[in-house]
């Protein structure tokens, strides 16, 4: 009727010229930002309709309108329920009836309130389900696994931390889901060789297998390594693997590209060499917290012709081993020596001069290296994109200048806890592609250096200024003006930062993570500006911002609808602010410690109102003040309480804090 009327009136509608295909094409370009799509759908009814037809991916918030949401989007194939802590069997059966066979992927990784009954009703209708994430479903038992086997088309299955699922369940899945390509059994403590072995026997399509912390032994490895398409094998923390068993392996996997053997205490170079024997395709090898890196170990790795990435985090390493890595005929792209003891200038310098193609280098906490190494790195590895050198305290200021002079392609720099100064920052600001800069605990930098970064690094996404105490509003303003792409900034414990910094930061509309704990000069006004300007804000830490009160919370509650996590400890927020916050439906994670004037009743009211909570950190005194049935009720909604007994702390200034830190080391 309406249409007819408008036709009769010869009313010109410009949007009528756009058919659905064009609108779909437009929508395809709006994938990046969810808010854009929302705006699009609010233009007119036809846009609304088109948007609802177009959407394939949905990540709903926990709400009572779940059914309406699903009704609105009939073609959703990808349902991400990771924001919903409480998915029950009823929800699943509803999803099953509404989504039918269009559903291809569902993520239930944040809920443990459904059982095999819900799963079976889900799988009854959703026959084309390909991806299923059941991580953290700690209550699921083997009967759920026996239901999963009905999903014959399943290709990706995450069962991380499904601690009750045993070999029997895994056996059911192995027999039923023959098309599995990815399987994560991380932390499935009840699974042993038998279940994993059966997976390897039955699911020949497996590409990626995560067996981290699964109590397997060597017995299941032969069948795993014979999987024809296995690319990615994660064996973190498999203490059951040992050299003796691994030496019996006749051949490693031919197709394996990534192998993670981290934290396998009983595997040394002997086991590694037999495990990687014949693994000609291996590109990445991760042996973090593994055996001492000696010549024997590097020799065993040398035989891998396609190796590009080696991560030896936390290992003991000898200088000769480092040099041996340098002698490899292959050219590494990525090397991580993070927290390795024994990394010396000598060894590292030789290594980097031979691996000139290195893109990423992580020498975090290699405390022995000096400027010599850095100079060698910068002169030979000019195409570095990532350099992490947190806590390399012996590296002098001049070294940072050479980094900026030689490595122009740097995108990620971690100078945390180093001697970098303004000249260094000025030098590295030449790296126009810089997106991540971490200069926390760098007491030598001031606004001057930061202004250089702000002026020349427009692509900066992440900036960490944690406890870089000399920073003031000027520096922040320069960053805010120059780096509009900023998504994460940490200005914690910067005593001189005031509301004006926040007002300038509010221009960075993409800002989603803001940490500003211990900034005593910030008040509710600054926070309000952030709330208005940064709609994407998801994580906020305002601990010890004593001047922030209820008015800031009210603004926050009104504008920051995407807020997921907040730390309110030591703030001047009362029950009003808390209740206001409770209206943020996304809010999942709240830390409330040492808030004066907050009674148990206020807290209870706020917790009841905040339905989406998954984790609440409270002072342990509230444990006795809140009635037990209330706590149980909140817990039954999917919220976990964490009781902390921290004493009330007085803020310390940056230099004395650093002295304390060094004293503990």
């Amino acid at each position: 009727m309406k249409k007819q009327k408008s036709m009769e009136a010869f009313e010109f509608k410009p949007f009528d010229l756009l058919n659905d295909e064009i609108l779909f094409a437009i929508l395809d370009c709006l994938e990046e930002n969810p808010v854009d799509k929302k705006s699009f759908s609010l233009v007119c009814k036809s846009f609304y309709f088109v948007e609802s037809q177009h959407r394939k991916t949905l990540r709903p918030l926990p709400s009572d309108f779940f059914r309406k949401i699903l009704n609105r989007y009939p073609f959703v194939s990808n349902l991400d329920l990771s924001l919903c802590p409480r998915i029950t069997d009823n929800t699943l059966s509803m999803i099953s009836s509404l989504c039918n066979s269009t559903l291809r992927s569902i993520n239930l990784s944040r809920s443990k309130f459904f059982s095999h009954v819900g799963l079976s009703s889900l799988l009854l209708n959703c026959l084309s389900l390909v991806e299923l994430d059941l991580s953290n479903a700690t209550e699921l038992t083997d009967s759920a696994a026996s239901v999963i086997r009905e999903a014959k088309n399943l290709e990706k299955l995450w069962l991380a931390r499904c601690v009750l699922i045993s070999d029997l369940g895994i056996g059911c899945i192995a027999v039923g889901c023959r098309k599995l390509k990815l399987l994560s059994l991380k932390w499935c403590f009840s699974v042993t060789d038998l279940g994993v072995g059966l997976i390897a026997v039955k699911c020949k399509e497996i590409r990626s297998l995560d067996l981290s912390y699964v109590p397997i032994t060597n017995k299941c490895l032969p069948s795993i390594l014979q999987l024809q398409y296995l690319n990615d094998l994660v064996l973190v923390g498999c203490a059951g693997l040992d050299d003796e068993g691994l030496t019996n392996l006749r051949q490693g996997s031919m197709s394996l590209e990534t192998l993670n053997l981290s934290d396998c205490q009983n595997v040394s170079h002997v086991g590694l060499s037999s495990l990687t024997n014949g693994a000609g395709c291996l590109r990445q090898l991760i042996i973090a917290y593994g055996p001492p890196v000696t010549l024997a170990l590097t020799d065993s790795m040398q035989r891998l012709p396609k190796l590009q990435s080696v991560k030896l985090d936390g290992c003991q390493i000898t200088s000769s081993a480092l040099k041996a890595i340098g002698y490899w005929c292959i050219s590494l792209r990525e090397l991580s020596l993070s927290k390795c003891s024994g990394v010396t200038d000598d060894g590292l310098s030789f290594l980097v001069t031979r691996h000139k193609e290195l893109r990423k280098l992580d020498i975090t906490c290699c405390r022995e290296i000096t400027r010599v190494s850095i100079d060698n790195i910068t002169t030979s590895c000019t195409s570095l994109t990532s350099l992490r050198m947190e806590s390399c305290n012996l590296v002098s200021e001049e070294a940072f200048i050479s980094i900026g002079q030689n490595c122009h392609f740097l995108e990620e720099l971690d100078f945390t806890d180093s001697e970098v100064d303004n000249e260094g920052l000025k030098s590295i600001s030449r790296c126009s592609g810089l997106s991540v800069l971490r200069i926390g605990i760098c007491l030598n930098i001031t606004d001057e250096g930061l202004i250089h970064v702000g002026m020349h690094c427009p692509k900066l996404i992440e900036l960490d200024l944690y406890r870089s105490a000399a920073i003031t509003d000027l520096g922040i303003a320069a960053i805010a003006n120059g780096c509009r792409m900023l998504e994460m900034i940490n200005i914690a414990y910067s005593k001189d930062i005031t509301d004006s910094s926040l007002i300038s930061l509010s221009k960075c509309s993409r800002l989603s993570i803001l940490e500003m704990r211990g900034c005593p000069c910030i008040s509710s006004m600054g926070l309000s500006a952030i709330a208005v300007g940064c709609k994407q804000l998801t994580r906020l830490d305002i601990k010890s911002c004593f001047n922030i009160n209820d008015s800031g919370m009210v603004r926050l509650a009104h504008f920051s609808k995407n807020l997921k996590q907040i730390n309110l400890s030591y703030c001047s927020v009362t029950d009003i602010g808390l209740l206001a916050l409770a209206s943020i439906s996304c809010l999942q994670n709240v830390t409330i410690l040492h808030m004066r004037g907050l009674t148990a009743n206020d807290l209870a009211a706020a917790l009841v109102a905040c339905r989406g909570l998954t984790k609440v950190k409270l002072h342990s005194t509230f444990k006795s003040l809140l009635p037990q049935p209330f706590i149980e009720h909140i817990e039954s909604r999917g919220c976990a309480f964490q009781w902390r007994d921290k004493p009330f702390q007085v803020a310390v200034d940056a230099r004395s804090w650093k002295r304390q830190l060094e004293a503990t080391l």
């Binding site: 079976s120 009967s143 026996s146 239901v147 009905e150 369940g169 039923g176 038998l194 026997v201």
Partner: protein, 533 residues
């Protein structure tokens, strides 16, 4: 031992036996006392007094020995035929050569015969009575009929016993020319002469005398000629049998697997199917009760008189420690085609009789014992069932096909091997999940049935199992005995003897009559051998 002592002891044994039989007779009558008024009371004391009169005379010992095998084979028709033959031809043969017979007292014989006459008259009058009753009371209950039949049969038993004993008094004590100790034994054993009933050896002395005893009937001797006798028989195999029984090997079937005796270095014996399946191998000579072990029989014998209580009688029959080298004995399974059968190319002998029994039951018989817990596992040897029941229920690892495993790795190996098989969850866990019920149950049923077929086909290899009803083969004694060699037997005059067309209480007559060719004893009679022991 001088002959006087021997004689007296034998006599006393005989008298006690007579007492026993008469006692039984009384018992029968008492049981049906309401019937007494209609029939002439038997003078039950008579036999005893007669016996005592002839106290110095030994015929009963003869009777005892000669009838022993027949009583030990309660269901053997041959034995009975023998006896019947005897009855029939006694008049002619009894006095064939009186001079040959030592210790023969015609007066005793005469008194025996007069006793028999008396008995037969009594029986006659009883039957008359019954016939008369038949006319008057048409609507008699079956019970009454049965009781009368029992009475008649009891009388008959008594007569037959007397007859045999009388005939036995004629037996010559001269050494037999036969190599075998006892014609009956050799007949009872099959063609190969293996199956000598161990019960013969309950008493060494008896056995000794047995061997001294000649075949007391010429027709018997002729019949015996029809049988192929094993050369080494000579009463030596028996001790080994009894030893085995006492040690009760549980599962020695494969014991001889690896021993690799060169063929010919041992003697191969083969029992017949019936012999293997017989529940009892030791039978009481007096009451006919069967026992599985000789020791039990000896204990049982104590109830028959003080002479069985002597240490000698109770002692384990010692192996005849003759210095002759004993040939190793190995056993063959009668099932043709079986690897344990001596005709098989790769014949592997079985070590003991128990091995034979277990092997035959396990391999060639139906598995009629079903586990009461799982209701799926079946066994043919009861000991296997008991072993299984100890562990049944502990097989907690279950496949969707219904197969259970005691070990998880076995289950997973099984699942890995077979397409479509899934580890099944324990019942308490799966209940509530309704979706996977139907299909898997169906699969379970399907595979279970195929599994059963599989097992039966492997175990039998031919149709014999399917033919044999497990129940009847185990419980029904009529199936134990094939009509072996009946046709070849000479039933001389047998048919003149009125065969009882009625049920005979096993207690009184079974050891004499039960095996007659087309007479099928009813099973499960409440008057089983237990009632008398």
């Amino acid at each position: 031992m001088d002959s006087e002592d021997k004689l007296s002891s034998e006599t006393s044994r005989n008298s006690s036996m007579r007492n026993d039989s008469s006692k039984r007779f009384i018992l029968d009558h008492q049981r049906f006392s309401h019937f007494d008024s209609q029939q002439p009371r038997l003078k039950c004391d008579d036999p005893a007094s007669l016996d005592y009169e002839i106290g110095t005379e030994p015929p009963f010992s003869r009777f005892n020995q000669s009838s022993e095998p027949s009583s030990s084979r309660p269901c053997n028709p041959k034995a009975q035929n023998e006896i019947l033959d005897q009855l029939d031809v006694r008049a002619n043969e009894m006095f064939v050569d009186p001079t040959r017979i030592h210790n023969w007292d015609p007066r005793a014989m005469l008194s025996n015969l007069s006793f028999l006459e008396q008995k037969i008259h009594q029986l006659q009058s009883l039957v008359h009575l019954i016939v008369g009753q038949e006319g008057r009371i048409s609507g008699r209950s079956d019970e009454l009929v049965a009781q009368q039949q029992q009475l008649v049969s009891a009388d008959l038993t008594s007569i037959i016993v007397q007859l045999i004993s009388t005939a036995g008094s004629l037996l010559p004590s001269v050494k037999s020319t036969l190599s075998t100790g006892n014609p009956f034994v050799s007949q009872l054993g099959n063609i190969n002469g293996v199956g000598c009933p161990p019960s013969i050896h309950t008493n060494d002395e008896l056995e000794q005398e047995n061997r001294e005893t000649k075949g007391f009937n010429h027709s018997d001797v002729e019949q015996k000629a029809n049988y192929v006798l094993e050369q080494n028989y000579a009463g030596k195999s028996n001790p080994s049998i009894s030893t085995i029984e006492e040690h009760e090997f549980k599962d020695e079937e494969d014991a001889g697997e690896g021993e690799n005796l060169p063929p010919g270095s041992y003697e191969v014996l083969q029992l017949e199917k019936e012999e293997i399946l017989a529940p009892h191998t030791h039978f009481c000579l007096i009451c006919g009760k069967g026992f599985k072990r000789d020791a039990n029989l000896r204990m049982h014998m104590r109830g028959h008189g003080d002479e069985y209580k002597t240490p000698a009688a109770l002692a384990k029959p010692t192996k005849e420690s003759t210095m002759e080298p004993v040939l190793i004995k190995r056993y063959s399974c009668p099932y043709v085609g079986c690897k344990r059968n001596k005709d098989h190319k790769k014949f592997q002998p079985l070590k003991t009789i128990l091995c034979v029994k277990n092997h035959y039951k396990r391999t060639h018989c139906d598995k009629s014992y079903i586990c009461s817990r799982c209701n799926s596992k079946r066994f043919s040897v009861i000991a296997d069932l008991k072993t299984h029941e100890k562990h049944c229920g502990r097989d907690k690892w279950l496949c969707s096909c219904g197969t259970t495993f005691s070990r998880k790795d076995k289950l997973f190996g099984h699942v890995a091997l077979f397409q479509g098989h899934t580890p099944a969850l324990p019942l308490d866990e799966t209940k509530g999940s309704t979706s996977d019920g139907g299909e898997s149950n169906e699969a379970t049923a399907r595979v279970r049935s195929t599994g059963f077929n599989f097992s039966s086909s492997t175990s039998s290899g031919s149709g014999i199992q399917n033919v044999l009803d497990p129940k009847s083969s185990v419980d029904d004694p009529s199936n134990y005995f094939s009509p072996m060699n009946f046709d070849t037997c000479n039933f001389n005059g047998f048919h003149e003897f009125p065969r009882p067309p009625f049920e005979v209480p096993e207690s009184s007559l079974s050891f004499l009559l039960s095996g007659s060719s087309n007479y099928i004893p009813k099973t499960g009679g409440s008057l089983g051998s237990e009632s008398l022991s």
